[in-house]
């Protein structure tokens, strides 16, 4: 597994363009997401893996470690943390296939054992770098409760024909390509994602204007509109990277 080289320094970038590290992280996060789906991981363990990865590279430098190895180890570690245990053999197989799409399955040779050893060693390293704080509060739980509350208030036909829940869930999952999880509170991210989903379909929360408190304020007291706008715009930014990367 070879890491792609980091691009030029900040000067080489155009305005508004994501930093090259961000691209790398995006690509690696994409790798984590894809591997997670192929390994049958649930949304929360995948989110934990991405968070661990992002957090690790906040503390360290891309040059020091191979990001893909870190990614594999984060998957392994996240499986343990979120009680969806994965076998290193499966992780190695899926990753190998990711990089060598038409390759044969790995043989049980010394190279295999070396790979396995590296994953395990890396896991310990990551734990130490993160000071063993690898359990996070994710927005998923909050988002689901908000969805239930909102569902009761909306007209049921309107709810049925508008895939608000699916869209919100998709947006939340995709948000892990970037480091949103590290910069914002879980509740805020959940509300913002829901907000965006409602916006996309033009759904209006009934009696919003007449209410004393807007619905998003209800869900999180310390949330403000600017925060929501920030999160939404960051999220959309992440999506722009998607089209640029092959």
């Amino acid at each position: 597994m070879e890491a792609p080289e980091g691009g030029g320094g900040p000067a080489a970038r155009g305005p508004g363009q994501p930093a090259p590290e961000a691209r790398v992280h995006f690509r690696v996060a994409r790798f984590i997401m894809e591997a997670g789906v192929k390994l049958g991981m649930r949304s929360i363990p995948i989110a934990t893996a991405c968070t661990i990865y992002h957090k690790f590279f906040c503390e360290t430098n891309l040059d020091a470690y191979d990001p893909y190895l870190i990614a594999m180890s984060s998957i392994y570690l996240a499986g343990k943390v979120e009680e969806q245990h994965l076998r290193t053999r499966d992780i190695i197989n899926v990753s190998n296939r990711y990089f060598n799409p038409s390759g044969e399955p790995l043989e049980l040779d010394s190279r295999f054992w070396e790979l396995r050893d590296s994953i395990v060693q890396c896991e310990l390293l990551m734990l130490r770098v993160l000071r063993f704080q690898v359990s996070f509060q994710h927005p998923h739980k909050y988002l689901l409760h908000y969805l239930v509350s909102l569902k009761n208030w909306l007209n049921r036909h309107s709810w049925q024909r508008t895939p608000v829940a699916v869209t919100a869930w998709a947006l939340l999952r995709d948000s892990y390509h970037g480091g949103l999880c590290l910069r914002f509170q879980a509740q805020h991210i959940a509300v913002a994602v829901l907000y965006l989903a409602l916006q996309v379909y033009g759904v209006e929360v009934p009696a919003e204007v007449e209410a004393e408190k807007p619905w998003w304020q209800v869900f999180s007291d310390d949330l403000t509109k600017p925060i929501i706008d920030n999160i939404v715009s960051d999220l959309i930014q992440i999506y722009t990277m998607d089209t640029e990367i092959p």
């Binding site: 192929k38 992780i91 197989n93 689901l144 969805l147 049921r156 033009g202 009696a207 999180s220």
Partner: protein, 771 residues
């Protein structure tokens, strides 16, 4: 593409979105038509109020609009909607699954007027409402709604919405009186919405569960206690009393929030499918993922390849003779990949070489299951099966061996060895079968000789009995006596009856009853028979009329009830002789398989012709009578056995079905389980009939003898007792039966002769006894 959704979105965002959409999605065929028509509604001026709000959001909105336009093909796709349908609302939301929250509008502090308006907009028929009775009138009762029990969970307690439950929708709780008297003001009621007048804001509810949709029909309507109020309402009340609580606090303090399974539960509730997770990223669309890339598929392939390596090493060991090492390698391979075909085949071959053929066969079969086209597996399996068959043959387990050969042939029709072996086995088996049969015949002959002597004694005894019971007989039936040769002699039930006397009696009764039954209703005969039976302390079956003779089922019933007596009951009447004979022919055929069966089968008779003639008069009589009664006569049994045996030889293939059908009946016939066993055996293993058959014969005969001695029509199911009745009794019985049996018309010539003899014999006896 979902037009309505698109329209909704466009309405919200305005024309800028439309133009963006056009530019972004111009290549998408789905959108071209939609954008053309969907643009129509947005042309009109947007309503005033939203416009202002929108202007403020314009700046951010552009970004969002761009986003929408870029992802429109995903967002508005018809397949985007939840793939998994949300679980139907079972509103048994216990606290433990997730955090049940008070209604959102309560937090938002939406004014009552709006809440009311929205309530009447959103309420649907079939929703469950909970309220308190405010007044009871003669036409129904009014209730003030407190909360909702299904569908949307709203805060309506303070809205003072009333609903009427008309009288007709109130189920009555007692047989008389006013159903409304059960209800009082202040009762908390759970009801289903039946009718809504949205304009006038009127509701009609019902207490019948028919007003509810199917998935809710299990919920009880009517009076409920305050403990049954929904959780969300209780939380709502708490919130009212402490309006400073925040949503977040309530949620965090709820037990359901920390439930580890809350995410899965709610995902299911909302209809989001994790196995096919949604994403708006182009690269993560799950339809682009190939199944081969998934972890489980990769693991399988890898295991197979690893296992194959071990197998190769193992085969190398095997070739140089290191069997133990080879076995180790194979086992290793199978540990890695349990169903690996190559490993199984190789291990099977190793087992076969070492001699553990059964294990080898297991391995080969497993391998073939996984890969039916594996040539080697098939070949080796055939070889091993044949080898195993050979082993079994040497151990004299012929049927087993045969099955193995057949299996091998079934697998591979061209396998010469298997065919040869099978044929050889068949020949051998046939020979041994014939040998056995001959032996059995001999034994039978010997037995029958004995029987003859005891038969004479039995006859005498029976004669005496007949005289004694003449009166009874006469009164009971009008049918002629034995002389009529109606054999309906069910007394052939003699088979069942032990005592010779009884046998005769029964025969008489039977014939009488059979006749009467024919003439009168079957009941009459049955009553007669019943009487007779009772005399014998024999439980009387319900259908004792001889009409059963026409129906196999009845016979079976009769037979089932009483082993022997049934035979007696089944008297063959003259009238029914022909039909009977035809039917009974059937029966006999079926029974033929069973030694016990009244062996009065035509076949048996036919075979009889060839068999020992000396015994014939006796036996034929017995057979005849017993046959008639479709019951196993004791005497007959032995004969039957012989005949049946023969019959087996000849008609086994063809008759097997009959036998099977009659088995239940025959079981009953054979009053004793032993006899039934016997018949069973004979049916199933005619091949082995020879030895067992002969043995059974003797057993049966013994049993019968005992019965006759005892002179009771006991329903002895266990003939296991030591019986040493005399054969003559059986003979006597059988002779009676014979005389009674009538089957004359359809019998072949030799049989007819036999029957005539029997009839004469019986006539003598019958005349004597009657007179």
């Amino acid at each position: 593409m979902d037009r309505d959704l698109l329209r909704q979105s466009l309405n919200c965002h305005g024309s800028s979105l439309l133009s963006l959409l056009r530019s972004e999605q111009q290549d998408n065929p789905h959108f071209r038509s939609l954008l053309g028509s969907a643009a129509e509604p947005t042309r009109g001026p947007p309503p005033q109020q939203p416009l202002q709000g929108r202007k403020e959001k314009r700046v951010d909105n552009i970004e969002i609009q761009k986003f929408i336009s870029k992802k429109a093909d995903l967002l508005f796709a018809l397949s985007w909607k939840s793939d998994a349908p949300a679980t139907s609302e079972t509103n048994e939301d216990s606290e433990d699954h997730y955090a049940v929250m008070p209604p959102l509008e309560q937090f938002m502090e939406i004014p009552s007027m709006d809440r009311r308006e929205l309530f009447f907009r959103d309420i649907e028929r079939g929703d469950i409402v909970i309220g308190r009775i405010s007044s009871v009138r003669e036409f129904g009762f009014f209730m003030v709604l407190i909360c909702l029990g299904s569908g949307i969970m709203r805060d309506i307690a303070h809205l003072e919405i009333t609903a009427l439950c008309p009288l007709r929708d109130v189920p009555s709780h007692s047989n008389h009186g006013d159903p409304l008297s059960y209800y009082q003001t202040g009762d908390i009621i759970r009801a289903g919405i039946k009718d809504i007048d949205r304009y006038h804001e009127k509701l009609a509810v019902s207490l019948y569960s028919s007003s509810l949709p199917p998935h809710l029909s299990g919920i009880k309507l009517g009076v409920i206690s305050s403990e049954e109020l929904p959780l969300y309402y209780r939380r709502s009340v708490e919130l009212n009393s402490n309006s400073l609580e925040s949503y977040e606090n309530i949620m965090q303090s709820s037990l359901g929030f920390v439930n580890p399974g809350v995410v899965e539960f709610l995902l299911e509730k909302l209809g989001i499918d994790e196995s096919n997770p949604p994403s708006l990223m182009r690269g993560l669309q799950s339809k682009n993922f190939s199944e081969d890339d998934f972890a489980s598929a990769l693991r399988k392939k890898q295991s197979a390849s690893w296992a194959l390596k071990c197998v190769k090493i193992g085969v190398d060991y095997f070739k140089v003779g290191r069997h133990v090492d080879a076995m180790n390698e194979y086992n290793k391979a199978l540990e890695i990949d349990k169903q690996n075909v190559e490993a199984l085949v190789a291990r099977g071959a190793l087992y076969a070489t070492k001699g553990s053929l059964n294990k080898a066969i297991e391995d080969f079969e497993l391998a073939l299951e996984n890969c039916p086209t594996h040539r080697n597996a098939r070949k080796y399996l055939c070889q091993t099966l044949v080898e195993r068959g050979g082993q079994l043959e040497e151990e004299d387990k012929f049927l087993n061996a045969e099955s193995y050969y057949k299996k091998a042939l079934a697998l591979d029709e061209t396998f010469k060895d298997a065919e040869d072996a099978l044929q050889k086995l068949h020949k051998y088996m046939q020979k041994s079968l014939e040998l056995r049969e001959k032996q059995a015949e001999k034994e039978e002959k010997q037995k029958t000789k004995k029987i003859e002597t005891s038969a004479e004694k039995l006859r005498k005894l029976l004669k005496e009995e007949k005289r004694l019971k003449k009166k009874r007989r006469k009164s009971t039936s009008s049918s002629s006596s034995v002389s009529s040769a109606d054999e309906s002699v069910s007394s052939s039930s003699s088979s069942s009856s032990s005592g010779h006397k009884r046998h005769k009696k029964h025969k008489r009764n039977r014939s009488e009853s059979s006749r009467s039954s024919r003439r009168h209703s079957s009941r009459a005969s049955s009553s007669q028979i019943d009487q007779n039976r009772k005399d014998e302390c024999y439980p009387v079956p319900a259908n004792t009329s001889a009409s059963f003779l026409n129906h196999k089922q009845e016979v079976e019933k009769l037979l089932g009830k009483q082993d022997r007596l049934q035979y007696e009951k089944t008297q063959i009447k003259e009238k029914d002789r022909c039909p009977l004979s035809s039917s009974s022919l059937e029966i006999p055929d079926d029974f033929g398989g069973r030694s016990e069966d009244p062996g009065d089968f035509y076949n048996s008779y036919r075979t009889q012709a060839g068999s020992s003639k000396t015994e014939k008069p006796y036996k034929s009589e017995r057979h005849f009578s017993s046959r008639r009664n479709s019951s196993d006569s004791f005497c007959r049994n032995s004969e039957d056995k012989i005949y049946g045996y023969r019959r087996f030889e000849k008609d086994i293939e063809g008759r097997k079905e009959h036998y099977r059908r009659w088995e239940p009946g025959s079981v009953r016939h054979s009053t004793s389980p032993a006899s039934s066993d016997y018949s069973w055996k004979s049916v199933e293993k005619y091949k082995k009939y020879t030895h067992s058959g002969s043995r059974d014969f003797s057993r049966h005969e013994q049993r019968y003898r005992l019965n006759t001695n005892q002179g009771e029509y006991e329903r002895e199911d266990n003939y296991g007792e030591d019986i040493k009745t005399e054969v003559p009794e059986e003979d006597a019985l059988s002779s009676k039966e014979h005389s009674e049996s009538s089957v004359k018309k359809n019998l072949p010539q030799n049989l007819l002769n036999i029957f005539n003899q029997i009839a004469e014999f019986e006539k003598e006896k019958g005349n004597k006894s009657k007179n």
